[in-house]
């Protein structure tokens, strides 16, 4: 089990990267896409069982380092790494 931290630019912050991706999608014919916001996903491997204390610690880490609260929002949840999911499907 991993702890997942997802970081996104705040809605009121202009996201030039997301805008560039949206423009590229439209050029490629994916015109049904109305908007793109680009963020970051962190997969943290932790030694301990994931209990509320671990989530609280990771949330502290997110607010201290992984996200900048001036421009970004973050959410913390348990989950599996993207690679684990791919292995399951294969």
């Amino acid at each position: 089990m991993s702890v997942i931290v997802e970081v996104m630019p705040k809605p009121e912050i202009l996201d030039p990267q997301g805008q560039a991706v949206l423009n590229a999608l439209h050029r490629l014919g994916f015109t049904e896409v109305r908007g793109v916001r680009q963020g970051k996903r962190f997969e943290l491997d932790v030694d301990a069982d994931v209990d509320p204390e671990v989530l609280r610690r990771v949330s502290d880490a997110a607010a201290t380092l992984l996200a900048n609260p001036v421009i970004e929002e973050h959410v913390v949840h348990t989950g599996e790494s993207v690679h684990a999911k791919e292995t399951d499907r294969a």
Partner: protein, 223 residues
């Protein structure tokens, strides 16, 4: 006066910053990111570059380098600190200055000689200029768009803490054309453009940037 220049892994402009200090008549003292004390310097410059490869966010990792604990402590006690480009990003990440720097709104790296208007000529780093003076120094950054909450922007303007503004067209989407700001006490200044590259007509667009370094030396004499 001894002015410390911090070198982080990925700093680019530490040598030019040291040269600017020497041109202004000061003694440049090299500081290393792993240092825990500041060798008794009277002021510090955080130079431009791409500290830690700009990983995570620009300045986000440098902010936690060992040397920064001392820089933050001394800055809060009134030591002058100048953050240029990546140094400005580090000062924002370290919460010595409010707001943040975002990717340029036009999605391209901007490299040009940039006209600026000096909006505050009373800080430790700009007292040698006149308010309203127009200067030209290089700007070279991909993540130079200054953003802050509306209330913070109003407070910065109300307290005269905008130090320099972009003159003419806004190069990167910075809110209210802000190119640089200062702390409440006017001792910490951060700006995206590079005054250290404009201290000698041979190697830059002119000498308009030298005033940042001569200002801090003059402030030490008068203090």
């Amino acid at each position: 006066m001894r002015v410390g220049i911090v070198t982080f892994p990925g700093s680019l402009d530490d040598r030019d910053a040291a040269r600017a200090v020497r041109y202004a008549g000061g003694q440049a003292v090299p500081l290393w990111h792993g240092d825990e004390d500041l060798s008794g310097v009277d002021a510090v410059v955080l130079p431009g570059g791409f500290s830690y490869g700009d990983y995570l966010r620009c300045g986000a990792i440098a902010r936690f380098a060992p040397v920064m604990a001392a820089v933050v402590d001394r800055a809060r006690a009134g030591m002058p600190v100048l953050g240029i480009c990546n140094g400005f990003q580090i000062l924002c990440e370290a919460h010595l200055l409010p707001g943040a720097l975002m990717r340029n709104d036009r999605q391209t790296f901007v490299c040009r000689d940039q006209a600026l208007t000096v909006a505050n000529a009373t800080t430790a780093w700009t007292s040698g200029y006149q308010e309203g003076q127009r200067i030209v120094v290089p700007l070279k950054s991909g993540e130079g768009g200054y953003v802050a909450p509306e209330a913070t922007l109003d407070a910065l303007e109300g307290e005269g803490r905008v130090v320099v503004r972009y003159a003419g067209s806004n190069p990167n989407g910075s809110l209210r054309d802000i190119a640089g700001i200062t702390s409440e006490n006017g001792r910490v200044v951060g700006l995206m453009p590079h005054p250290e590259h404009a201290i000698d007509a041979l190697t830059g667009p002119g000498t308009d940037g030298l005033g940042f370094f001569s200002s801090v030396l003059a402030s030490a004499v008068s203090a």
